[in-house]
Amino acid sequence: MRKILALIIATSLFISCGEDQDDNISSNANISFKLSHSFNDTAVTAENFTDLDLTNANGEVLNIERFRYLISRIELINSSGLAYKLKDYKFTDLAEIDSYNFNGDISIPSGNYTLKLIWGFNEEDNIDGAYQDLNTASWNWPTPLGGGYHFLQFDGKYNINTTPTAFNYHNGTARISDGVFEQNFVTIELANPIFVTNNTSIELKLDIAELFKNPNTWDLNVLDTPLMPNYSAQKMMQENIESVFNIGEISN
């Protein structure tokens, strides 16, 4: 009975996400997020990202020209397992510093939480052409590849000290064969405890170098472009993406 009651409470709280929470909650906290980016230990910012010479796990020296990505269903989970969805989706362009920061759409009770998010869109949300802001950003994924939206657009050149060659590490729905597709999003749950009180800022760190390792050491000489229609490349990306995020500084 207790389990059923907990389930009902959990369900009602989850459904109410995006709306004001229960009036009985005495101390609600507003959450802001700050995205930061690195390549291993090198900070990658809007100001420096086109100037960096970076070496991936396979030893290729590369430059970044463009790095844009989508995360969605950004939730904080409390110690009882209740989920508060703070943002439906967030599109970030490394070149646009204004896109690094965002606020949660709802306030939540103070307390301890963990962070959960989806890389890209899940099947329910990845609706072709449905999001005007993402369409305007030309973020769409081609219909013959399953439609919907890109999850990542990472363009640059590798072997820059010998024979600079382009790579287009683009991630989205995986095409198995003509008309047959496999969802390729990643559910990411970060175990780090986050104590939330009043106005809390959460730094979410993305390590770009992880895209090239763990578990798949990426050889750009073999997999540079085109990768969008390459099923196995898409699934390798999905595996590598699992480890790109970490929680950084929490400030209250």
């Binding site: 100037d51 020209e65 802001d133 305007t136 219909t143 013959p144 050149k157």
Partner: protein, 342 residues
């Protein structure tokens, strides 16, 4: 005194808000057009902007207007490689077509993006020696101020008959924001009102397919009917640059050779192509991406098969791509009497 003010206020003409007609497809797919809060469209402001756009009085010798280089029948571009301004002076870049400008959310205008906002953009040609050739804006303001009609028209549009360059460019920008093109064959196909031929559909696949043309990363897609990303790219025109493009503006060598992606909508009417008008035909453009790519340090990573000179499209793919691109033509836009000098 206060009674006099009230009477004066009561006599001030209130301009009528202009209802911008956003195409159905744009309403479905795109965020709302960007209209600056300090320059909302009014019927009087748009009409004044149109009159100014077509008026050669804005040039130093009364020989050219905005429309001279931005001809409605050519999708507000012109068919010369480089436009000719006053005294026969030639410009340095090809005239950009003008439409759907309120959906350029970065608001970076010109081929190299060096002006922020349409209003700022319109300030420049008036005093460029090889465009409208005036030695100062003050001369133009005085010329308009002494005109028999303009003071009254500014009064109706902006509640003041004192003509300034700010108001002149605001009026022109208002008119430019009404230049909306959203009724091509492909637009109607997207709305389920028309069908495409097998050739056009295969051309769309060439456009969207990373293994074929891969045009869509910079030039929109069926869900982005602007057919441009409004960003800046080096698309492999030259191995070395005589025009640095965006790099000359930002001073960043990483930006050298980058120019704004033009929209592919209405390209049937906008030849010649590229920032310097080097390609006379659409076939020349397709051949460039297929076999004519020149490598350089800033070439965009989205340009495929650079070491082979391009994406190597078979002849049939080129023909199909061209057939698709021509579905983006909007003859109703280039023949719209609302946009013509009357």
């Amino acid at each position: 005194m206060s009674c006099g003010d009230k009477e004066s206020d009561a006599n001030v003409y209130e301009p009528i808000p202009y209802n911008l007609e956003v195409p159905e497809l744009f309403q479905q797919k795109l965020i709302a057009p960007l209209i600056p809060a300090n320059n909302k469209l009014t019927i009087e402001g748009v009409a004044l902007g149109k009159k100014l756009f077509f008026d050669k009085l804005l040039s130093s010798d009364n020989s050219v207007s905005c429309a001279t280089c931005h001809n409605p029948q050519e999708s507000f571009s012109d068919n010369t490689v480089l436009s000719t301004g006053v005294n026969g002076l030639i410009g340095t870049r090809h005239s950009m077509p003008l439409f759907n400008l309120a959906w350029n959310f970065d608001e970076k205008f010109f081929w190299d993006g060096h002006k922020f906002s349409l209003e700022q953009q319109a300030l420049e040609p008036i005093i460029q020696a090889n465009e409208m050739g005036n030695s100062s804006w003050e001369i133009v303001e005085n010329r308009l101020q002494n005109h028999p009609e303009y003071p009254k028209l500014f009064k109706q549009a902006f509640k003041t008959s004192t003509i300034t360059k700010t108001l002149v460019t605001q009026a022109i920008a208002q008119f430019e924001r009404t230049l909306i093109s959203g009724n091509s064959k492909f637009d109607r196909y997207s709305l389920g009102q028309e069908t495409l031929t097998p050739q056009e559909l295969d051309g769309l696949d060439v456009f969207m397919n990373e293994e074929r043309g891969d045009c869509f990363h910079c030039h929109g897609n069926p869900n982005n009917p602007l057919w441009t990303d409004n960003k800046f790219h080096n698309n492999g025109l030259d191995a070395t640059f005589t025009d640095l493009g965006l790099g000359a503006f930002t001073g960043d060598p990483n930006d050298n050779g980058k120019f704004k992606s033009p929209s592919l909508r209405n390209l049937e009417y906008t030849a010649p192509y590229m920032h310097d008008g080097r390609f006379a035909t659409l076939d020349d453009v397709i051949n460039h991406y297929s076999e004519g790519i020149q490598n350089s340090p800033t070439i965009d990573a989205l340009i495929k098969k650079v070491n082979q000179g391009g994406v190597q499209l078979p002849t049939q793919d080129k023909a199909n791509l061209k057939a698709f691109l021509l579905t983006l033509s909007d003859p109703n836009f280039v023949n719209n009497p609302q946009f013509e000098n009357q």
